[in-house]
């Protein structure tokens, strides 16, 4: 199983490196969105609740871009068949795709968070950085699980680019709730710690939907 996941992950990252379809688009989208927010909100800096909201909404929509592309190569180039012909567990593909999406999200955040700190964030980010990384990690796990499930659902349908976001956004609302509420105190001058309640909520949500994705993924891979 581990070998299969590694082989799949390697293939995913290799294809992404060659085509550069997802990560640059996601990162650029995030930075541009920050600029749009500046003009839309008519503010030079944000903090607290507003800052958390701007950050999470931007990351969410940038993530959707990555989710949309996640299975496209497999659907168009017979990757599902090739995989299903091999004596491997379908869960391996789920784990590999989740890991891929996670890598994309981390790459996205490596660009988006500094950009956010530079362009829009009022208070300095330094002291809050460890806390922010923790919250983002919890949120990313949930986005990876739900994003992979939704991407697999949407990819072999007719309106795949529309259905992905339509299905995914409501499912991701609780992650935005937990993530934004947890991030908000980190983005204030006081640099307070996030409330444990939100971290537990995020963790619980990640766990539930991770299990759901694990249980249902097989049914999506069949023809």
């Amino acid at each position: 199983m581990r070998g299969t996941v590694a082989a799949l992950l390697r293939k995913e990252l290799l294809v992404e490196l060659r085509t550069l379809e997802s990560v640059p688009a996601m990162s650029l989208f995030a930075v541009t969105t920050f600029v749009v927010f500046h003009f839309a909100l008519n503010r030079g800096s944000v903090e607290g609740d507003l800052g958390a909201g701007v950050l999470w909404v931007t990351l969410l929509f940038a993530a959707i871009l990555g989710v949309n592309r996640l299975f496209v190569a497999d659907a168009e180039q017979g990757g599902f068949d090739g995989f299903m012909l091999a004596p491997v567990d379908a869960t391996a593909m789920l784990l590999a795709k989740m890991a891929t999406l996670l890598c994309y999200l981390i790459a996205l955040e490596l660009v988006a968070v500094p950009a956010f700190a530079l362009l829009l964030l009022g208070p300095s980010l330094g002291p809050s950085l460890p806390g922010l990384i923790g919250v983002l990690a919890l949120g990313d796990l949930g986005v990876a699980a739900i994003g992979t499930l939704v991407a697999a659902l949407a990819v072999r349908t007719r309106a795949r680019d529309l259905l992905g976001p339509l299905l995914g956004l409501p499912l991701l609302v609780p992650i935005v709730i937990g993530g934004a509420r947890a991030t908000s105190p980190l983005l204030t001058l006081a640099h307070s710690a996030p409330s444990a309640r939100w971290l537990v909520t995020l963790g619980l949500y990640d766990l539930v939907f991770g299990l759901i994705a694990y249980a249902l993924f097989d049914f999506l891979l069949e023809d």
């Binding site: 499912l171 909520t201 949500y205």
Partner: protein
Amino acid sequence: MYGKRLRPLSIATIAAMALALALVFFYAPLDAEQGFLQKIFYVHVPLAIAALGGFVLGAVLAIAHLRTRDPRWDMRSYVAIHMSLIFAVGALITGSIWAKGSWGHWWVWNEPTLVSFLIVFLLYATYQPLRFAIEDPERQARYASVFAVTAGAFVPMNFIAVRLSTAYLHPRVLGSTSNLPGPMALTFVVSLLAIVLLYATLCTYELTAKHTRAQVRALRRRVLGETPEQEGRRPRSAAPTTAPGAAIGAEAAGRAL
């Protein structure tokens, strides 16, 4: 088979609804704070409960479909979710009316149940577009079932998350439904029963109608020798049709659903 249950169900529903209406207007006392407007609670909350129950039922039926691969479970799951969606719209509208009456706004964000409902509604509203976007009927049923299970798990998680996020400081606009005095509680229970019966009856009607249509198609195919292509360009719908195996002879089909 469903046809047999329709009449007693319909009669029971009409009786329950008549009784509920009578209780609501003539028996339940007026609420001290909200007055007559509060009576919409007897419609709004049962609709919400029926819708949520229906969504979870849809998820359970979808699990049955995934385990047995029998398309009849998928049909039942589809009807359950489809009907719940309609009831959910009813819950949203009555909730909105209630909010307007007691708070002055058509929408309030600090009523966590209403907000959770909106999110759940937005999710389930994608169920039919999802089905419509998949042409292969078997895959359509399978993907719809996966969605139904995911969404069914989402419902309670969503309510928890939204409830947590609504600040404790704001009072609940639409009032708590626990600690009801006797007459109100009785009225509420009867109303709930009436709405649940209405849900069951409407679902049974829809299942019977679909089943009958499928039987007619199967009979036409046998008697007139029509192929599916010849049956005319039926407009594509998001609803599932039963597979040939499930609707072959009249008696067999009678036992089937």
